[in-house]
Symmetry: C2
Subunit: 274 residues, 2 copies
């Protein structure tokens, strides 16, 4: 159906936002609106300028017959700084303290607005990596993994603690948790991950890194190539870290149960992104 | 910063899409772009027309001092029909058959594009209900719950099978699963749901409805008001259904393991939505 420029801008913005990282040929839009490719190019120039100016993301234009336009979600450094600062303030609230020095974070992980912002942040950080799947482990990492994967436009694979009949045949490993030193199990459905895939690991919390290390071992059974690791909160209290390269948003530096004090600071996100 | 109409249309579309169901005062946009409210009204008229024409959703304008504009995500009947038909075709694939007559659905639930479409469908069906929280039970319903909640712009609450120290104090119930007749447990963190909330229950699969019935019992401990139940797949094989009112997208009518045949049809979505 024929659309005027103003309507085309609205519809193209919607289309691009819901198809991130996908190369859309200019002819797709030209046919969708019954417009000349030159008009579509002008529309895209406006969208590109606005997306970049307003910190929505990049619009990459690839020339040639196989070319097109690709929306790459990005968060500006200023917005990222402000958002991470808000997370830190929220996490430092002494009401979050639970017996044993654990922190209550369920409200943050239940807030779809916050979860989607975290997804945008990680998708921004790993925008230029080739990623086939986002991988997490049940349960708390799941919303974060889906948020990241939505902005990267790739599927999610969930590692479980126990095997389920609805998953078909599974590959399982035992691993030693980094902080408690207990032996634990992880399983992944054979069908869920193709061999040799490039994966991004996402989880909510990392102490010594035993769980993430376990995930890496399990993923190696699928010959997966781990291109990145994103953790929402890292705890500095770990004696020895089993995982070196990761991107964290928040670092928990100390928890004092007696004085009801939680100290948090910015994670290593900006070291990585810069 | 001052923006021209074309750039305003792009930025407003982005803003509205990422703030569904939120009433945005016209002065917010007027100040954001240094424009007159009359210009903003004209912009919104263009966006409204395009959103409705392209099946993106509704744009409600509330007049008066406390008024503003609100984007309500909606899926057209034609798009919903086509999407549910695709789900049915995909689910009827005999390769999904697992021992015991179970169906492999992990690939569908891992596909962020499909999950987000399911979210849009349910948000569309329950667009005019007052919902405070989307509630699901770990693990498979989680991505669906977040997708629905993102389009409704409300938080998610996750019921668990086991209590965890990071959840703080919990309320727990025992219930009898509808099909296996086994006694099972469900727990919900006390902090996670405020008393008397309006909730939408979302899950991936329902047979007799024992799990959903358990969720309803647990939610009654929080004096929650269940305003709706959405299940992706309902199985017709249940002898007696414990839950009456629900909205399903797909109905599994028969599974024949010997002949490797799966029969699926459209769920009751359109009975409910019309």
């Amino acid at each position: 159906m024929k659309l005027r420029r103003s309507s085309r801008l609205v519809d193209m913005t919607h289309y691009l936002l819901y198809h991130p990282h996908q190369l859309v040929p200019l002819t797709f839009f030209a046919e969708r609106y019954g417009s000349a490719k030159s008009s579509i190019s002008e529309d895209l120039a406006i969208i590109k300028q606005t997306f970049e100016q307003q910190g929505i993301g990049l619009l990459r234009t690839l020339p040639g017959a196989a070319g097109g336009v690709q929306y790459v979600p990005k968060m500006s450094e200023a917005e990222a700084k402000q958002f991470i600062q808000q997370l830190c303030t929220s996490l430092a609230d002494p009401d979050r303290l639970l017996p044993g020095g654990y922190l209550y974070m369920t409200d943050l992980l239940g807030d779809t607005r916050i979860v989607n912002q975290i997804g945008r942040l990680y998708a921004s950080a790993f925008a230029h990596e080739h990623i086939d799947f986002v991988v997490t482990v049940a349960t708390k990492g799941i919303p974060l993994a889906y948020a990241v994967a939505s902005f990267l436009n790739v599927p999610v694979v969930i590692i479980r603690r126990d095997s389920k009949v609805t998953e078909g045949s599974m590959v399982s490993i035992n691993y030693v948790s980094g902080s408690s030193k207990r032996i634990q199990t992880m399983v992944l459905s054979k069908r869920s991950l193709k061999e040799g895939a490039n994966v991004l690991i996402v989880d909510d919390f990392m102490k010594a890194g035993g769980t993430i290390n376990g995930m890496i071992s399990l993923l190696s059974e699928f010959r997966a190539n781990v291109v990145g690791i994103g953790v929402l909160v890292e705890s500095e209290e770990a004696e020895e870290r089993l995982v070196d390269e990761y991107v964290s948003l928040v670092k928990l530096t100390s928890v004092n149960v007696k004085e009801k004090q939680i100290t948090v600071e910015e994670g290593n996100y900006f070291h990585f992104v810069k």
